[in-house]
């Protein structure tokens, strides 16, 4: 395993760059999309609720690989320049956003109804109440499940390997098929995934502790 790491270090690092790049983009994208669709799902507006629910249910219940393949195979017909990395990252973003939307919905709904009533009675609009009162409290609640989603996201980014996305798993496949040292290669790849996900787990745990002390989030 050590020999694989040393002999193919540059390819593996290259793969990690793509994995981290894709994960970072998908993390930010899915967080934004997830919050927006969570707001849709709980919206007082019926049409927004329907759009939100359909989105969440569709992307939550289709395998990630199928979603990613859709963006890799079907979408380039309409959107030129959609390579494996981009298609996979978009698929990963959308797939993850459905889970994040569900996480935020549950978080928002666990904030007491009275908080919204108080904010509205204070003259705030629905969106102001969300922004200043509900979402900050919901965020604190969703940090632990959100941490799980982010770790899953990094692991799920290995789907890029199927779309020629140049990520760590892709490089691992290449190394394994050229060296035939499959066991060592995938052990090394697994280790490198751990190197990326463990700090993320600890970061989320740190945030969880820190935010629980803060008065205003």
């Amino acid at each position: 395993m050590i020999s694989i790491l040393t002999a193919h270090w540059s390819e593996l690092v290259e793969g990690m760059k793509y994995t981290i790049g894709s994960s970072l983009i998908a993390l930010i994208g899915s967080l934004i999309l997830g919050i927006i669709f969570a707001m849709f799902v709980i919206s007082p507006n019926r049409w927004l609720r329907i759009i939100g629910s359909v989105y969440v249910e569709i992307f939550r219940n289709i395998p990630l690989l199928v979603v990613a393949m859709f963006f890799y195979i079907v979408m380039p017909r309409f959107v030129p320049g959609l390579d494996g990395f981009k298609a996979g990252t978009i698929g990963l973003t959308i797939y993850t956003s459905a889970f994040i939307a569900e996480t935020f919905r549950a978080g928002i709904e666990s904030v007491a109804v009275g908080q919204m009533e108080a904010a509205r009675s204070n003259g705030m609009t629905y969106l102001q109440a969300m922004k200043y009162i509900i979402l900050p409290q919901a965020t604190k609640i969703v940090i632990p499940p959100l941490g799980n989603q982010f770790v899953n996201l990094v692991k799920n980014s290995s789907v890029l390997a199927f779309l020629a996305g140049f990520d760590l798993m892709y490089q691992g496949n290449l190394i394994a098929s050229t060296t035939f040292k499959t066991t060592d290669t995938y052990l090394a790849v697994g280790l490198l995934y751990l190197v990326m996900t463990m700090p993320l787990s600890y970061l989320m745990r740190y945030l969880e502790k820190r935010w629980s002390r803060l008065p205003t989030v």
Partner: protein, 246 residues
């Protein structure tokens, strides 16, 4: 121009009639207490006034705006009508000071410094200036409710609704909250108070409504007289049940 006018207002939850044919006019500066058995529609009536509950039929005018009119801006009504809840509902993620300044700053666009000055004045009024930088979770129930009153006052509303403000409090702190409410009443604020505090209804209120089964059964401009000799049969029964210990 009256502060609040109900004309033939009904409110249904499915088949259940929560409010039946309410006709009620409340003038500026009145301190109206609403009493009655639980499930009589007191809180529902109160919550229709700032649109937390929507009426099913009839007409409800608040500050001369028809609440059923889609053109009516509910947020504008709520700027002018404060609310104090049974369970306080202080913003859990904000300090005491921020609880009071948030509305004025974000809704009325008052500059922060000015909002904070006003908040400190109000904290002085409710006797909790030293708690300004704590979180709501660090305060006792009685203190929370006094902050909730300060939060409502900070909007300089035309009226404040109180939904059983002392029902969730320990007996020994109820007096502190009632004292603050009395001060607010003395400043001429229009107040509508759903309460089980008969002392407050008698001493501070200048009008009393008795509700039962979604109806206003008695409307008295002399609360002391009401307690001495209630006219309505249900009111007699209700007072008989709650006052027998006195």
């Amino acid at each position: 121009m009256s502060m609040i006018e109900f004309h033939d207002v009904n409110k249904y939850y499915g088949k259940f009639k929560a409010l039946k044919n309410i006709n009620l006019t409340i003038e500026r500066g009145e301190v109206v207490t609403i009493i009655g058995p639980s499930g009589s529609g007191k809180s529902t009536l109160l919550r229709t006034i700032n649109g937390l509950e929507l009426i099913s039929s009839g007409q409800l005018l608040v500050d001369n705006h028809d609440l059923a009119d889609p053109k009516t801006d509910m947020n504008r009504i709520r700027k002018n009508v404060g609310m104090v809840f049974q369970h306080f509902n202080l913003y859990a993620n904000k300090t005491i000071l921020q609880n009071i300044t948030l509305g004025p700053e974000k809704v009325l666009k008052v500059p922060h410094v000015k909002a904070a000055e006003d908040a400190e004045r109000l904290l002085g009024l409710v006797g909790l200036l030293d708690q300004a930088h704590k979180l709501p979770s660090m305060l006792s129930g009685g203190q929370k409710q006094r902050i909730a009153i300060a939060r409502a006052l900070a909007m300089h509303p035309k009226a404040i609704l109180f939904d059983e403000p002392t029902s969730a409090l320990d007996p020994e702190v109820i007096g502190d909250v009632l004292d603050v409410m009395k001060k607010v009443a003395e400043q001429g604020m229009t107040m509508i108070v759903v309460t089980h505090e008969m002392g407050f209804a008698k001493e501070v209120g200048n009008r009393l409504l008795f509700m039962a089964d979604g109806e206003i059964r008695e409307d008295s401009n002399d609360p002391r007289e009401f307690f001495r000799a209630p006219q309505d049969e249900r009111a007699q029964e209700f007072l008989g049940k709650i006052l027998h210990v006195d």
